[in-house]
Symmetry: C2
Amino acid sequence: MDIVFLLFQRLTALDAIGPYEVLSRIPDAEVRLVAPEPGLQRDESGTLGIQADQSIDEVGRADVLVVPGGFGTRALMRDERVLDWVRQIDAGSRYTTSVCTGALVLGAAGLLDGLPATTHWLSRDLLAELGARPVPERVVEQGKIITAAGVSSGIDMALVLADRLAGAEMAKAIQLSIEYDPQPPFDSGSPEKADAETVELVSEAASAARRPA
Amino acid sequence: MDIVFLLFQRLTALDAIGPYEVLSRIPDAEVRLVAPEPGLQRDESGTLGIQADQSIDEVGRADVLVVPGGFGTRALMRDERVLDWVRQIDAGSRYTTSVCTGALVLGAAGLLDGLPATTHWLSRDLLAELGARPVPERVVEQGKIITAAGVSSGIDMALVLADRLAGAEMAKAIQLSIEYDPQPPFDSGSPEKADAETVELVSEAASAARRPA
């Protein structure tokens, strides 16, 4: 089973690595990490580098596509070469998936027109502008398209996907192997649960980061 | 604030990237990823590569040390150069932390003697052999040493650490920014919660993987 991750400059590392850690444990998974320009892909802070061993041009099909998010999605949304590739892979995939603002790339490629979908809570408006119907859910399955909310939600999405691909027993075994028994010290993981002050703090920081440098 | 991640060949990617995604969002964090031999560090499957930009020899102190796990820890546990470096960093750190079998490296360095600590559930016996007192908890704080259980627990550990380093408001803001509102589709994330069959499946797969190739 061919599982392809689309990496790119200015990605959010956990968006990719959360699902990677789950999906790569499916026994017959053949995982490839690809990018528009192969080589090291730095995260939003520029600190962490994840290697893309192949160019998107070398990969013509996949059973599963995972598109992570990050500020770098803004450039991908205007890159017709990337959008054409996403449409090509989707045409032959069993599942086409996104984490966080990776949904904006699926939206820009026209794959979410009129569909319920999710993304990072700060990007719901932008997702709507791309034709999707944003819903405040953590994982949204819509036929073969599965979108996940912000960053860490990719782990939950990937466990749902592991169930669909390899069955519940395998998904549960993977959950145990990564000891995914979450115990966050606070209950502040969604805008519906966090204090208003926390929501404002994060919203302001995000606005500042998006201002052109 | 200097936060240093010790990377190495055959690491478990999520062990490192979970805490990275949390700790790198602390406003004054200066994160460095180091390794015994800098360059691309491949994960246990050999598929994913994460870049270590510096050698451990270039880093003499850190406020926070994070040691992730993975099969590659077995080699580190016998590498006196690495263990000396871990002891040196610990001597000047505010917090010395591990995720999953990263605890075995702290144990081999003599930092856990007689202390309660946690690790991946499959490695509790090995941790005991190294002088620690393994406890089946997800995050164990023992003075400035914080150990986390398997793989995904590093996210919870890092949120606890963010609270200690930057306060609860910042930790909650980071939790919201990575939308960490876990909703796993199964309740199979610890050996105490999983079915006996699931525990056996994962234990057997781990034993097989540890056999010399």
